[in-house]
């Protein structure tokens, strides 16, 4: 448990010690404060989540393709 906490702490320090200057300061015109920490974590995780999302969409298409293929195969055998 302690090891896990330490590992997490090291990762957190590494991630969050990146200077804010690296990240976007966007043309934010919303009336609600998006929060610096919230924007930075969003920028950090979004690219990775975007890649996961693309994989998910791709895998969904593969599944549909395979399902269609098998159903045609079954119809052909029937």
């Amino acid at each position: 448990m302690k090891g896990n906490l330490e590992t997490q702490s090291v990762i957190s320090s590494a991630v969050f010690s990146l200077p804010p200057l690296m990240f976007a300061a966007y043309n934010i015109h919303a009336y609600i404060d998006p929060g610096t920490g919230s924007l930075i974590i969003q920028v950090l995780i979004a690219s990775f989540l975007g890649a996961l999302f693309l994989l998910k969409v791709f895998w969904g298409k593969v599944k549909v393709f395979l399902n269609n293929l098998f159903s045609q195969f079954r119809k052909g055998n029937g």
């Binding site: 804010p20 920490g37 975007g50």
Partner: protein, 462 residues
């Protein structure tokens, strides 16, 4: 002409809500012109309204405007009863979160984004959550992050994961924190194993650490380097959606969720007779709205709702409200709204000047209130005097269907088993006398196979 701004509508410079002659209007300020026109002209408004996700409105005469900087005045479809997230059960908050994410995805298709993800922008209409803030949409420019990400996590995600992972009652934190549950608090309250859920680790635990780390470090706006692509934004929303969708809470183990099953006092004949009496009393007074107080899972509320009466069921037990809501969803019921409420401590006014969120007693009035198997809990368990209870009911309804449960009833005996009986005035005579001061008793019927009596009363004019 009665004309006043709605107390909770002042933060957004895009516009505000106001009441005129009892009708609610929304003023759109000129500063929001570009965004409003895009919402309407792009087809996003039509798409969201057609799919029941956004409240429809009609544009009315600009002369209704309250100031010179007005671009449009809208008359949104009214909501029957305004409820707040701390009055919702787990699945109501979860469905509201999913609707918010669905709207954000749809908005992105039309080149817009949600700039405001407050849970207070959701209300229940015809049994389903609907987004009510028409001015929460801004033009989306590729590369921009989602400005409402923090708000979504605080208003929806944090309370939902706390309810699911720790304790169902933690949604009450929303009553304390008007801008959602602080993420550092959520992170510290969550069990350690929640860190093994990858999406939760990112959106709550890492998010909270990031907020803490950058709390006193301003971001320099001119140093733009990294952007959030549309695909990345969709990935972020997909991650939140799959996390919310997988959150579960099973309604069981609370005091009241199996009341009708386990309570031997409620034999079938008594329940059926009580149902007949309630139905007959409702037919006699034909109310348009019914509030069932202490509704449990809505067994008797449905007598009203099945007659086409707009019915709100209030109960203190999150499991009962959850079961009631899930039943309403399964059955496609459109005129029943289960809500979580402790009658002895109803939702207060909160926010700026205690006015941003309206207290329970100022949010409406019922034609008829049902108070079945309730009064003994108020008197015996909460030491409430009969005259105070009668006064409360007189404030909230025009007519009252109330069940008197005498001391000899086994349920009352159970309540008295562990405490001293300091209620010599809890008698049927005293009940009729106190309620008779504020109500005229129309009729009363003894419920078969029980010692209980059901009354129909009409409130006297103040």
């Amino acid at each position: 002409m009665a004309n006043l701004n709605v107390a909770g509508s002042f933060r957004d410079p895009s516009g505000f809500l106001f009441l005129q002659d009892g009708i609610i209007y929304r003023q759109v300020n000129r500063v929001y012109k570009e965004h409003y026109d895009h919402l309407i002209n792009s087809g996003l408004y039509k798409s969201l309204v057609d799919s029941g996700l956004l409240i429809p409105h009609e544009e009315v005469d600009i002369n209704y405007a309250k100031s010179d900087n007005t671009y449009r005045v809208l008359k949104p479809e009214p909501i029957d009863f305004i409820s707040y997230p701390y009055e919702w059960c787990f699945s109501q908050l979860k469905d509201s979160a999913l609707v918010t994410l669905e709207i954000q995805k749809e908005a992105l298709k039309y080149g817009m984004t949600l700039k405001d993800c407050s849970a207070y922008n959701i209300q229940f209409r015809k049994g389903k959550p609907v987004f009510i803030d028409t001015l929460s949409f801004d033009r989306y420019h590729e590369g921009e992050p989602w400005v409402a990400y923090r708000q979504f996590c605080q208003h929806f995600l944090a309370p939902l994961v706390l309810m699911s992972y720790r304790d169902i009652r933690l949604n009450q934190l929303l009553r304390v924190y008007i801008d959602g549950v602080p993420l550092d608090l959520a992170s510290s309250l969550l069990p350690f194993h929640s860190r093994f859920n990858f999406h939760l680790l990112l959106h709550i635990h890492f998010h909270s650490k990031s907020q803490k780390h950058y709390a006193d470090k301003p971001m320099r706006k001119e140093m733009i380097k990294k952007r959030v692509s549309l695909t990345s934004l969709l990935g972020l929303i997909d991650s939140l959606e799959s996390l919310v969708r997988k959150l579960k809470w099973c309604p069981k183990g609370t005091e009241w969720d199996d009341y009708y099953i386990s309570n031997n006092n409620y034999i079938l004949e008594a329940i059926n007779h009580k149902k007949q009496l309630v139905s007959g009393f409702l037919d006699r007074i034909s109310p348009k709205t019914v509030w069932d107080l202490g509704a449990n899972t809505g067994l008797f509320s449905r007598i009203a709702s099945k007659k086409g009466i707009q019915t709100i069921c209030f109960d203190i037990d999150p499991a009962c409200v959850e079961i009631n809501y899930l039943t309403a969803v399964d059955e496609g019921e459109t005129n029943i709204l289960p809500l979580l409420l402790d009658l002895t401590n109803p939702s207060p006014g909160i926010g700026w000047e205690n006015e941003e969120r309206t207290p329970f007693l100022k949010r409406g009035h019922a034609d008829t209130a049902l108070a079945l198997a309730l009064i003994h809990h108020l008197v015996i368990s909460n030491n409430l005097p009969l005259d105070r209870i009668a006064s409360f009911f007189n404030k909230i309804c025009n007519s009252l269907i109330i069940e008197f449960v005498p001391k000899s009833d086994s349920n009352v005996q159970r309540l008295l088993a562990t405490r001293k009986d300091i209620f010599p005035n809890y008698t049927q005579g005293a009940f009729e006398s106190e309620f008779g001061k504020l109500f005229s008793i129309q009729t009363s019927e003894k419920i078969k196979n029980s010692e209980r009596t059901l009354y129909l009363m009409l409130a006297k004019e103040a």
